[in-house]
Symmetry: C2
Subunit: 149 residues, 2 copies
Amino acid sequence: MNSTNFMELALVQAEKAAQIGEVPVGAVVVNSDGKVIASAHNLVETQRDATAHAECLVLKEAIGKLNQKFLDGCDLWVTLEPCIMCSGAISYARIRRLYYAAEDKKSGAVEHGSRVFSQVTCHHKPEIYGGIMASKSARLLREFFAERR
Amino acid sequence: MNSTNFMELALVQAEKAAQIGEVPVGAVVVNSDGKVIASAHNLVETQRDATAHAECLVLKEAIGKLNQKFLDGCDLWVTLEPCIMCSGAISYARIRRLYYAAEDKKSGAVEHGSRVFSQVTCHHKPEIYGGIMASKSARLLREFFAERR
């Protein structure tokens, strides 16, 4: 699979989220063999838990499946720039590479706000690739909120 | 119960963590009636999950118990300055007041590093009270690491 395919899988997750009324953000974790080991989308409304973001859920799932404390060598693909909480989780989980689609000016913490991975208190920084299939992800989000306003 | 008592309960959790080889950080969530509704400590080793910090665990527990998305009106008592991930979770969960004991110069994100709650991308900021029973918490941590070096 090439890069676009993994982001497409994350976007499929985001679409699933939209279908059940969740903000459309999806994520997958890929191991060093290029195999998808976990997929998740936003579940804030379903789980009635404001912290149930796609990234935190997919990291927990991957950690559980591998039964290891860290996700060394694994990559995270997510359709929106991670927030501060999820960026922290990405750092703790020792994700190798972070790929994300749309930027998030309001709550993003990678290239906005706290810029988590640039802080001296950040002890693990993944390689970061933003903007992959960004327009498709941004459109999904725009349409989702447009329908609800 | 007064302030000191709630932090003592959080410290009891931290001591429990130390007893099973977990970094001694403990937390409790107290509702607006002054009742402890959730208690947790660090479980990174036990759960083999680098994101299993006391604060995230206790917030999830409280959210689950109340079956509500946000913890409006609830306070969090924790024995160490929260990291960036946990500070994000505290903000999303809409904790009313954050009380913590020892500062964490290495990984703290309240008065160090990202200073999460001072960012424009932070959409909910609790009232913050640091330094409560700080020396007892700092001693617990110091002793824990001293034994392991």
